[in-house]
Symmetry: C2
Subunit: 202 residues, 2 copies
């Protein structure tokens, strides 16, 4: 054999594995309700041994959130930069969000449930900035759509933003990755409800 393995840091895998376990527990039981012993049990080690990989429980939550947010904003930014038509941009934002829910389910559940409390610690102050960019992207797309005539002129952009943000992202509570409903299917149906409404056309 010419070569065996790339010189990958050997402990990166274990870190990621532990983070994945922790994210699942945080999402399921809540951050405060999950003890470091729970995480260690799930990993088959003792609680103290976790501190060989992370210097605190907070660090784990931090790393989980950052990884997910990086992922999401990479997608979001690409969409608004690439797509000039606000209606198509809106559709792709919804789609990207459901894809994120599918891929980073635990991290998003953690974010949805605990961000409000975590944000109060200075360590997680970056979440404020994250929220601002998040809002700018959605709100900007909606405002452009209203101005261009794609969306109703009497729409309150801010209210519409909150409306769609809550509907889409809280779906993490019931959506099951790998279940019968694919993220694409849910995304398509949600888009239809948001854009066309419940009312039947005569």
């Amino acid at each position: 054999m010419p070569k065996t393995n790339p010189p990958a840091p050997p402990h990166r895998d274990r870190r990621a594995e532990l983070l994945s376990l922790a994210a699942g527990l945080f999402a399921e039981r809540g951050y405060k309700n999950t003890t470091v012993r729970d995480i260690a049990d799930a990993a088959g080690i003792l609680s103290g041994s976790l501190y060989h990989h992370f210097d605190s429980k907070e660090t784990m939550a931090d790393e989980i959130l950052r990884t997910f947010l990086d992922d999401l904003f990479r997608d979001y930014r690409a969409i608004v930069e690439r797509e000039s038509d606000p209606r198509r941009a809106f559709e792709q934002l919804v789609h990207a969000s459901f894809r994120a829910i599918d891929r980073n389910h635990s991290a998003i559940a953690l974010y949805q449930n605990e961000a409000k409390q975590l944000r109060q610690s200075p360590r997680f102050a970056y979440l404020d900035e994250t929220d601002r960019e998040f809002r700018d992207i959605w709100l900007g797309t909606l405002e452009k759509g209203i101005a261009s005539g794609a969306f109703r002129a009497d729409l309150d952009a801010m209210m519409a933003y909150r409306f769609v943000r809550d509907t889409v992202w809280v779906a993490v509570r019931w959506y099951v990755p790998g279940g019968k409903l694919t993220a694409e299917a849910v995304s398509a149906q949600y888009l239809s409800m948001i854009l066309e409404g419940f009312q039947s056309r005569e």
Copy 2:
């Protein structure tokens, strides 16, 4: 004066006051993050003194949730029994929900954030039944509306239920009772978005 007070149990007031304080803290910081000392501090007493009124922290959460749920279902049941037209029933359900968010803000925040964890304790098993009736009321109204032609025939009732449930109830995260936006105003705008959609009609 012919009469002073109804023969109300004299400690009912203090109980209610303490519960209101506890609900506010539970809603703001989360159930697990709020200590009995926090609640006692807010009331100006010591933590041990709380146990003169309640036999546990769990009891407080229990009582807060039950009071709110009784309130809500009284309204919900009255609507579906009184109103036979599904479209009008739907509108009134949305309206009643926002009115509840306005009146029982803390209790609803507590329910939204902690129900999933609390439900796992047998003490809060009744939340499962509550959810069932809640779903039956909304889903039944939506299905009747689809059958009657008031709502789009191609609507997936279950998906529409989740959609509207999440949008409406998660508004508790940003809605501020007594703020600039009244519950009626938000309710009207949300109804317009749900029924007519974002898309502009040509």
